[in-house]
């Protein structure tokens, strides 16, 4: 190892007005090192979750004050290395190189020291002061590992603090150390480790040449880091600096290349790992006898040849059930409140101030209904986020991917794609948000593209009404045929996209199977809350805007008597001929489909409004304000109880009749009668396939744009689904007619 003096030379960086700016701390570490939990323990609800610019990788940051110091905390994506090949790694290193935080907190999993130190060593190359959080220290002790933190500090030239993030142990020590290290003058850069004579001698020559011939470039980067990147042939850095491999670089590296068969990148990785294992041997003592660990015992079952898949399916069944059954009563309650008391109060208020009738309609049917549309999703998004975070934090997510990868990979997806796809059967919106468990942008985009083919709960009411009208004798078969059709088409489209849009090498699968751990409840709640809030603010605005827009479409020109003359009806008339070959080329059908873009179940409601002449709203006695409040409270209790009851009840689409309350059946009987006169059974089935396949509802669309960070994928989803819906419905209707199934 080099002398202290050498390491100081790199650190001669000016410290920019720390007093005014406060201290910037970047937090880096391996995935599964407990980094998120640690961040939550430090920042709690002050965390702000967003995205790194231009990508969909999550960025967490927090501004806080500690011991009178202003601190800005930046969470870097979890990475194993700082190579130039994955989005996460590029983000992390670009941030460290360009923004030069005052200090880096490197979270290290004490139970897996060697592999974690490999990242530490790369971070040290940057010359920024480092505090190591030796995390999950309790588990390491339980395993009998003894780590000499003092020796680590001496050998690496960093500060080491033992932490147990789940219990908040050592967190304030960690912050104190980070602050005092940041304020140290001159700043204390980590030691420069010895990478072997071969590498080090070339590095010195190269550094010298760079400073002489390219002083601007040399000054813009941490010099030692830059030298290593150039030696590795890091394309990212080569592009950025405009240096190329000919000339100087080529000359200096020639001998090294010749001696090591051209592969300096591997040589460097070897050198870093040699340091990591050397260090681990020096500072850590572990018992000779290894116990059979809990993780191994669980995996004997969870990854078992025969039991692995059944266990996985049961786990998924539980998760699906908990996500949707637990949240549904709350969503129902919110929906009822918005449509009931809230609407009445607003109407009363508007009546009171004598505003024109259309404002009342806009306020209640447009804005309040729109807000309701957003709010009903909150419980399900929260529930989904909670369980996904639990699956990831506990370590089972990686197993789920391991078990399912073969099947999913055959249609171009990743093992982890299964869970978002499954959630799609409940609701496409949380399903699309769940694709965030996929790290690779390609896997993520393809999964999100296929999710809308999973028949969600909102399509069920449409099926129920039509099946009740046309196929009461074969209800089950017809219903399942739609679900199966969705899955079959998803497989076909998956293979199709794999060969066209996503041609080329599939992303790598190489993935750690982390030890099973119990995620901390606090961390789970913070994460869930942050995600829910994010959805409310970001998606909420869009959804509200679209709801208001649809209100205008439906109700303008104001006072329109016949729905046919509303803007929606007019658009419907224009679109109708396109649907002619499918057997339902009527404006009523096309208008309902357009209205269904808000949410597919609205198709039924709109058809009801259009087809069935509305008997004048049976004006109910409007309940008094106090009654409303009382009802709101008691219905909440009722729904909460139902939510709990759901957890223990059976699952699945038990039967068509149970999906409809008696009230709904009575309401829909006249509609069914009209439908039978308007559609042939064949056209009805074609219509159902169209409802299954045509474009995602606006809320799912917003989710897709937001989660994938671009309109591009949404555009593709829209286009392929429209084409698919039309073609399949056409084949069914046309084919059926040819077969003499009647038209």
């Amino acid at each position: 190892m080099n002398t202290e003096a050498a390491s100081r030379s790199v650190a001669a960086m000016p410290i920019q007005g720390m007093e005014q700016k406060g201290i910037t701390i970047a937090v880096a570490g391996n995935p599964n090192s407990g980094k998120s939990t640690l961040i939550n323990a430090i920042a709690g609800t002050r965390l702000h979750v967003g995205n790194w610019p231009g990508v969909t990788v999550e960025k967490k940051e927090a501004a806080l004050e500690y011991a009178g110091k202003r601190i800005r905390l930046i969470d870097l994506p979890g990475t194993y290395s700082l190579s130039p090949y994955t989005q996460e790694e590029i983000i992390a290193r670009d941030y460290l190189v360009r923004e030069r935080p005052d200090v880096i907190i490197n979270v290290v999993d004490a139970t897996n020291l060697e592999r974690n130190l490999y990242l530490t060593i790369q971070i040290m190359e940057l010359g920024i002061p480092v505090v190591i959080a030796l995390n999950i220290y309790d588990e390491a002790e339980k395993k009998g590992f003894r780590i000499d933190a003092g020796a680590m500090e001496r050998m690496l030239g960093v500060t080491v603090v033992r932490t147990v993030a789940t219990r908040k142990t050592g967190v304030s020590d960690l912050l104190k150390s980070a602050i005092s290290l940041a304020e140290e003058m001159p700043s204390r850069a980590p030691r420069q480790l010895n990478y072997g004579e071969d590498i080090d001698s070339v590095a010195i020559i190269l550094a010298h040449h760079l400073q002489k011939d390219h002083p601007a470039v040399a000054a813009a980067y941490p010099l030692r880091w830059l030298v290593f990147k150039l030696m590795e042939g890091d394309s990212h850095v080569l592009d950025e600096t405009g240096l190329d491999e000919s000339g100087l670089l080529h000359e200096t590296l020639r001998h090294l290349r010749e001696a090591h068969e051209e592969d300096i990148e591997s040589l460097m990785a070897d050198a870093r790992y040699a340091q990591a294992s050397g260090l681990t041997r020096e500072v850590m003592k572990r018992p000779d006898v290894r116990k059979m660990e809990l993780t191994e015992r669980i995996d004997r079952l969870a990854l078992n040849r025969f039991l692995g898949i059944p266990i996985f399916l049961v786990a998924m069944w539980l998760m699906f059930k908990l996500t949707f059954d637990l949240s549904k009563p709350y969503s129902d309650w919110i929906g009822e409140m918005m449509a009931g008391p809230f609407k009445r109060w607003t109407e009363a208020l508007i009546g009171f101030i004598h505003a024109p009738a259309w404002t009342a309609s806009l306020a209640t049917d447009g804005i309040i209904a729109g807000v309701g549309n957003v709010l009903v999703f909150v419980p399900v998004i929260f529930a989904m986020m909670f369980f996904i975070t639990f699956l990831e934090g506990s370590g089972y997510m990686a197993r789920a991917a391991f078990v399912m990868d073969r099947a999913m990979h055959s249609i171009g997806l990743h093992g982890k794609s299964f869970i978002p796809m499954l959630l799609g059967f409940g609701c496409n919106v949380p399903a699309i948000y769940a694709t965030r468990t996929l790290e690779n942008p390609r896997d993520k985009a393809l999964t999100a593209l296929l999710i809308p083919l999973m028949s969600c709960g909102a399509r069920l009411p449409v099926y129920v009404v039509f099946i009740g009208a046309f196929f009461p004798a074969h209800a089950g078969t017809v219903l399942w045929s739609l679900y199966v059709m969705g899955i079959a088409l998803a497989i076909m489209m998956g293979v199709f996209f794999k060969r066209t849009l996503f041609r080329g090498e599939a992303p790598m699968f190489i993935m750690e199977l982390p030890p099973y751990r119990m995620p901390s409840f606090r961390s789970l709640m913070i994460h869930t809350w942050e995600k829910g809030k994010h959805f409310l603010i970001k998606a909420g605005t869009y959804i509200l805007a679209v709801s208001v827009l649809v209100w205008f479409l439906l109700n303008l020109p104001w006072g329109v008597e016949n729905k046919k003359d509303s803007y929606l009806g007019r658009v419907g008339q224009v679109v109708a001929p396109v649907l002619g070959p499918l057997g339902f080329g009527k404006w009523e059908a096309s208008s309902s489909l357009i209205a269904g873009l808000v949410a597919k179940e609205i198709v039924v409601g709109t058809m009801g409004e259009i087809y069935v002449t509305k008997e004048e709203d049976r004006k109910k006695e409007a309940p008094a304000f106090a009654d409303d409040l009382k009802e709101a409270g008691s219905s909440f209790v009722r729904e909460a109880r139902e939510s709990l009851g759901n957890v223990f009840s059976t699952f699945g689409i038990t039967s068509i009749s149970s999906e409809e309350s008696a009230e709904e059946t009575a309401e829909r009987t006249p509609l069914r009668g009209v439908l039978r006169s308007q559609f042939s059974p064949l056209a009805a089935y074609a219509f159902l396939t169209f409802v299954l396949l045509y474009m995602p509802c606006v809320i799912a669309s917003v989710a897709m744009v937001q989660e994938l960070g671009t309109w591009k994928w949404y555009g593709i989803a829209f286009a392929y689904q429209m084409v698919l819906a039309w073609s399949v419905a056409f084949l069914i209707h046309g084919g059926g007619k040819l077969l003499g199934l009647g038209g």
Binding site: R115, S266, A269, N304, A398, V403, E512
Partner: protein
């Protein structure tokens, strides 16, 4: 022997990594290095991917990615 062809329970020392480019770097970043001890722990229920123990932790990778990693199997 090729790592992709090893059976659960077999272990040995890595002698060569055939991969190139990003795949090679990724494998090395995860601790798959020449001279390292590796043990095949499990094969997924559907036959792919595989789970290996390396550097005191568990890693899963597809057989296609494991192809070309040469291992001298220790009995």
């Amino acid at each position: 022997m090729d790592l992709a062809k090893m059976k659960p329970g077999e272990s040995g020392t890595i002698t060569n990594i055939g991969a190139v480019g990003p795949l090679k770097r990724r494998l090395m970043d995860m601790g798959i290095l020449v001279g390292e001890k590796v043990k095949v722990e499990k094969v997924a229920p559907l036959g792919d991917p595989i789970e290996v123990a390396i550097k005191n932790y568990r890693l899963s990778l597809r057989k296609k990615e494991a192809q070309g990693i040469q291992v001298e199997v220790v009995k």
